[in-house]
Every structure is written in structure tokens, then in C-alpha cells.
Symmetry: D2
Subunit: 254 residues, 4 copies
């Protein structure tokens, strides 16, 4: 975190921060167990209708987060409902910034209704990966975040950190509890998320926070730096994973 004010609390609770993508249902289609996850997370990244969700799902998810005292950020995406925002598209930087402003603004409408503040922005899916690699894409994200003056969630050591920080924005780094890391520390983003062993995921998360290390998909030790832990709600056993991580982090930090 670059700006002290952006995270809600002190050192210890910061390390307990668990963020999760929420509100990814769409019409009659269900995705993730938001009710089950909410008790175990502290920050919700709420979908804004471009890769998932619709206005009514957004309204309900914001209310659910409020009930659990969970901070809410926007989870904007490329415009790709069929591909769940996981298919790369080439957009002009201006277009991309405008798409993000639109989505974050829309979410803010629902936050306004509940008297809640926007906590952060986290780019979704392939947009997250593109911003990690491309300074131009990260800058487009930063340009949107500046409108709302909130920190951006991303991966330490990538263009996320470099560009958001240079833009004077807060930066919140995260470790992914249910995804694999390549040998170079890059995240391996898949279209569908698979179940992971909660015990192993919790131990990896504890080690990532405590020691700043994680084993890559090939077993190589990779350094990670993380202000918070991310769990995906569409990982099949997401609730068990989140619960195990919350417990592990609580024990770790006493």
C-alpha cells in the first residue's frame, strides 16, 4: 500500500485482508456462493455487468456486503459476457478508461443507495493480466481510478505496482490462494477455476504472508509480496478454502 489511509485498519488486520470476486451471477445463472463466502472475507470485488452480473445482482451483492461489514470495490472487465472477461481484446487506451469509468460509476450508484464508500478498483480476468504486463493498459486503469481516487488491487512487482504508484494512486498487492504461479512469479489465469486443497491453500497463503514465498507450478520457490489474499468464489470449494485461510491467518497473527 502506498497511501496509508486507503486500507481500513492497522497492520494486523491489514494482513488478515481477504478479497474475493463477488456478484458474478447473471439473471437466472448462478456463479459462486456469495452468501457462504461473505463471512470469511473482508473485501469484495463486485462485478459490474461486463463479464458477469446485472443491475439487480449488483444491488443484492452490495447489500449482502453491507450486512457483513465487508468493504466493496469495483471489479470492471472487458466487455465480454460470453467469455467471462477472460478473452483478450485490443482496445484503445481511451476506450478502456471509459469502459472502466462506466462500470465503476454504475457500481457507485448502488453504493450511494446504501450509504457506502467505494473502497478500491480491481481489474477483472484478462484485463488484470494485461495490466500486469502492459504499462499502457495499466495506465488506462489508473486513469479511471483517478476519477474515483481509490487504490487499485493488483500484483506486486508488475506494471500494476509500477504504474498505479507512479500515478499517485494507492496500490494493494495480493496473493492468489487458488491459482498457480509460473516460475517467473506470473499468475496462471485459467478460464475455469478448479478445486484446490483447503489445507494446502491455507498453508501456502500463510507462507506467502509470513515469508513472502510460494512454490511455482514446477515446484520452484518464487518470491511474492502481498497486502492481502485473494480467493475466487467460482473455485468449486471456495467457501472451505476461504474458511481455512481465515483460520490460518488468524493463528499466524495471533
Amino acid at each position: 500500500m502506498t497511501k496509508d489511509a486507503a486500507m481500513p485498519a492497522r497492520e494486523n488486520s491489514r494482513r488478515l485482508a481477504i478479497n474475493c470476486d463477488m456478484g458474478e451471477s447473471f439473471g437466472l445463472y448462478k456463479m459462486g456462493d456469495d452468501e457462504g463466502m461473505m463471512p470469511y472475507i473482508t473485501i469484495a470485488n463486485i462485478a459490474c455487468g461486463f463479464h458477469a452480473s446485472d443491475p439487480t445482482v449488483m444491488a443484492r451483492t452490495v447489500r449482502l456486503a453491507k450486512r457483513h461489514g465487508v468493504q466493496v470495490g469495483a471489479h470492471p472487465s472487458l466487455p465480454d459476457l460470453q467469455g467471462f472477461g477472460r478473452r483478450e481484446m485490443k482496445l484503445q487506451p481511451e476506450e478502456l478508461t471509459d469502459l472502466i469509468v462506466y462500470q465503476v460509476g454504475a457500481l457507485k450508484g448502488f453504493l450511494d443507495r446504501e450509504g457506502m464508500a467505494l473502497f478500491h478498483i480491481k481489474p477483472h480476468g484478462v484485463l488484470y493480466g494485461m495490466a500486469a504486463r502492459s504499462p499502457e493498459v495499466a495506465q488506462a486503469v489508473a486513469d479511471a481510478a483517478k476519477v474515483f481516487d481509490v487504490p487499485v488491487l493488483g500484483m506486486a512487482g508488475t506494471q500494476h505496482e509500477r504504474v498505479y504508484t507512479a500515478a499517485g494512486l494507492g496500490f494493494i498487492s495480493e496473493y492468489y490462494a487458488d491459482l498457480d504461479y509460473a516460475d517467473d512469479g506470473a499468475l496462471i489465469i485459467t478460464r475455469e477455476h478448479h478445486a484446490v486443497d483447503p489445507v494446502r491453500a491455507a498453508e501456502r497463503a500463510r507462507r506467502a504472508v509470513a515469508e513472502g514465498k510460494v512454490d511455482s507450478i514446477n515446484g520452484k520457490e518464487v518470491r511474492v509480496r502481498a497486502d492481502c489474499i485473494c480467493v475466487h468464489s467460482d473455485t468449486p470449494n471456495a467457501v472451505a478454502v476461504a474458511r481455512a485461510i481465515k483460520t490460518a491467518l488468524a493463528e499466524q497473527l495471533g
Copy 2:
């Protein structure tokens, strides 16, 4: 107008208010001559992506309005890009309110970027007509407007006026310079707008403001009450119509 504070200025300038639907282009598709119209209007109803527009069009239209000192409101619609929001859909009231909150919030993102305030909300197309007739639909609009605490533009003597006023919201009544009125004073909304004679339209607008009267499509005199005049930018000769009305109203009010 119910709330004194909602209109930007004094009695005279209020009567000069001309509102216009703006920002209805979409991607490469052009609709209306926004650059041509902006000098002749005082209030822009900006499309929010559900019947027309996209985030980049919204961004540009907000900037254009700012440059001309034009007040900006949201022009939310049913979700129907193919039908330009002019095909009736049956939605649950909660769904409808959520759709409107989403669209207005999205527009506010672009206003935030330009340091502008949201001036009003005006339901678009068939949603406008549905709200005029149905207290339930008008209430769904009012529930969204309360989130943003802005007045709603609509037709006097309809559920617009009754419901928005009862909800404690400001209400701005309008007269349509380029549409026909039925014998009962109801507006005749068409899918496409046709060219109208600017001189005749301006004289009708002047009479509507000064005498509160307009001739129906059958030549019957109908009473109207209007805080402002509406001109559609997709009427083929919209710029000429707006210019003629602005001139007529200026002379009228001297």
C-alpha cells in the same frame, strides 16, 4: 418544479430551458447532430448505453456539454439497443429501479471526471410513456431518482407529476416541440422522428409556454403546462428547430 433549488436560474431563464436527448450515437453509428444542437439547448439528457451510446460516446458528450455550459441529466432506458428503447418490456419494479440506478451511476462517473453535478433524470422512450401512465413504473423511476436526489423530467398532468412530487422529488414538466399530441393531451411517441416545420414548431412552443395551449393532431386545443421545451436530436432538421425555438422564446420573454 416542486423544489426551488433544482432549476438553475430565475423565472425568465427557466422558461428559456430547452432540453434535448444527446449522446445517442453508438460505436461507429451516428445519431443526431450533438455538436450542432448544443449551442441552442440548456439541458442535455444523455443516453446511458441501454438504448444508445457507449462509454466513449458518453465521455465525449459530457465534455461537449461542459464546453457549452449545458446542464447534464441522465436519460436511462429499458435494455434494448436494437429497439432504441422504444419497445415495451414488462419488468419487475425492483429490476427497473436497479436498471436506472446502474445507468445513472455510470453517467455520474463521467460527470465526476469533469467536476460536474448531475442535474436531473429523464426516463427515455417507451419507459417515459410507461411511467406517464403507470404509477408503479413511475414509482420505480422515483426510487432510483431518490438515490441521487435530483428532479425528474416528465409530462405535467400524468403519473410523472403525481408520483415524483409525492416522492418528494423535484419535477420538471416539458412540452415536446417535435411530437404530436393526442386529443387527450397524451404524447404520441413514434419509433422514428420526422422533420417538422421549424417556424410552426417555434410558434407552437411559444404558445405552449405563453398560453399553455397546443393543438392536438386532430386540431383540438389541448392544455399543456411546461417548465421547459424538448427537442429531439434525431429529428432530421433538429438544429433548425432548436434554433427557431430559442429565438422565439427569447423574443417572447424579451
Copy 3:
């Protein structure tokens, strides 16, 4: 059935016909257990992308039906992915026919690839209900079906039967095993389908086929006429219901 040639087989097997809405997943969103249902049905109504599905889901569902020897028809809808085609829209008849031709044609592309013939058309969701009540809507469906010269699935005793038959099209009547009937025999279409007791549903289906009778939601005996039985795949226990009905019908018809 008006045209003898339209149903695949003889009297007995005709009465065994069970149709089911299939291929209603969308991108990563899953809906219904198509793999589980396919063994128990004889006719698949495949979604065409307007209320559910996408081209890849369509391709896979057609292949799955082929593997199980299931006949395939098109299940066109109003254009409403968020509302799953269950929200009424007012369209011009020409627009409606064109929407249906588009969707059926799209499905035929996938049937062409597998060397399969289009078996029928069944309007989806609220379009089904609108066509049952409105001769104009039923005619728009018939106008599309005539392009492909296939029978239309619908409810006996409604505008479905009257209009499709008058248009010279085959008509296949159906009984809904997992929905309730009103006292006047009208189907009660809900946005979400709820689990039903498989034993009771099978007994009702057997009685509908054997005696032409069903109890309404208020316990009143209502006459029904049905060439085949419909089971919804998004009914939570759909596979159990379909299996029970198949067994009951097989026993019935020996």
C-alpha cells in the same frame, strides 16, 4: 399432430415422446443437467442464444443429442438474456418473425454440420405464452416456421393449435409435467422452476396421456390433450422427474 409425417414413429412411440429444453448454459454459466437428461427424452428443444446459450453450447448440445438419437428442434426466444426470455416485450410481427428465422437458421447451421434435420420449432418462455394467447404472435411464429417447413410444439386448445394448423403447419401438443395449470387449463409460467415430486409428476403425466385430465393448482379437474410430455431441465430434480415419467409411460403403454 396435423401432418402425419412430422412425428418420428408410430402411435405408441409417439405417446412416449418426451421433450425437454436443452442447451441453456451460457459461457461459464451452467443451467440444467443436459448429459443427465438426454437418455430420458426423445425430443430436444435447443436454445438459440437469445434467452440462453451461445454458439459453442449449441454445437455441443447438438452433438450430445445426436449421440443419444434425440430429435432436435429450435427453441427461439425474445432477445432477453438477462431475463431468460421470460419478460414480455412488445415487438412488431415482422420483427418477431425475423428474430425467429435468425435463431432457427443459426441452429440449423449446427444441425447441417452433424448431418441432422431440424425436427420442430418450439417458442420459448414468455413468447410461448404470448403465442398461446395472441393470434398475431402465433402467426409471427407460424410465418417463421413456414420458412423451415417443420411442425410447431405448443399447447392444445390455444392459439398455438388454431394458428399453426390454419397455416398448414404440423402441430405437436404437449403436457407440462413440472408446471401447474390454472383452473381454465392455462399454464402457469414462472421465472424459476421448482422441484416437483417425481412420483406425483409421473402419475399426472400418465393420467394426462391416458385420460386427458390433470388437476389444476386449485384441485379442479382440467382437460388436457397432449402428443408429448415436456420436462424442464432447469427444474432442480429434472433428471429424476424425466426418469420417473419415462418409466410410467412405458408401463402405461406396455
Copy 4:
């Protein structure tokens, strides 16, 4: 042309073939002067709803082509209405083939209604460019074309020619009358098309057909090979360009 049967007529008339993207309006949005262009072309590439058009526009455009005796092919696109199919997306080959089968099938529905045959497929916008460069993308196009057993329109000397020919499909090469060519013969695809001088465009087209040469954007002579000429209907003065080319080619071939 690989397959002799694919082009409608003899050597001379083949060289007179002029293809044009048609039916790119959408709802109330107009694009191109289809009525004005139809008399000057012989082959229409009709949009299928993914970058432009809707079912009603498709129906009308097919009828218009029929009236003018113009051959009709499908003009499938990446799914990107806002970007008019001109923004690159990364899709799986299977997804891409399915998207194309869906769109071509949909168009065939309208051709079936008019008793017309599908003449060809031409990938639209950035998909055209991607297929020219990438054997994998061209193969995905070919896999869809094989379902309908029609030739594919594309650029000679690119993966279009190599892959479609290797797949046993007919290949129709084309020269772009209103776009610029790079020094290496690659087409320069822009998001919006600009007016070109009809006289110069016609002379370039004549030379391309007669001599197989065109000047690049830098004035370098580039070799081209073309079975037909392409004119874009959204080029501002498209009708004048098409008329001039038709005249030039007619004189040329006398």
C-alpha cells in the same frame, strides 16, 4: 478461384465481379447506402448481427439483393457490436468456428425464405486481417465454410489463399478499391473508412485487374491478384466509387 463452379459466370463477367459489405445498419442506426450501392455490385457480403445488423435488417438486405440479382454471402464477425468487429479478440479456434457457423446459419434462414443459395463467406473486419496472417484463424474460418460448402473471399498470397485452398474450399481473391496497401502488399484496415477519389480508385482497380499492380501508400508498386473488386459501403462516397469502378471495368473488358 480454385473451384470452377463457384463463380457465377465466365471469365469476363468474373472479372466484373464487385463485392460490397451490405446490411450494416442496426435498429434505427443507418450505415451505408445499400439501395444506392446494389445496382453497381454483383456480390453482397451481408452482416450477420455480430458487428452490425439485426434480423430485420438482414431480412430486408437479402430481399434487396434478390431484387437486383446480386449474389449473397455471409459476412461473419467477431462478437463486437460496439467496435464494429474491428477490435482484435483472442478466441479458441473451436469458439471461432462455432461463432461463424452460427452467423452463416442465421443468414441462410433468410436466404431459405427467399429461395436463394448462399454464395460465399467473407470474414469481416479484424477477423479478415487475423485470418490473413494466422493459419489457425484461417483454419477456423475454413472449418465453418466446410459446413456450408461455399468458397471464401479473401486476399491472395495470404493465409486466406493457402488455408482455404488446402481445405479443398473455393477461394475468391479480391482487391480493395478504397483502402490503402502497405509496401509489403498488406491491407491497411482502419476503423472508419474515408472518402476516396472515384476516378483514381477506378483507375487503380482497372490496373489491379488488368496488370495485377497497385501503388502502396508510400508509392511503391505492389503486385496484387484479384478475382474481384471490393468497395465498402460505409466509405462516405461509396456509390460514386462503385459506379466509377463498374464503368472502368466494363470499358476495360469491353
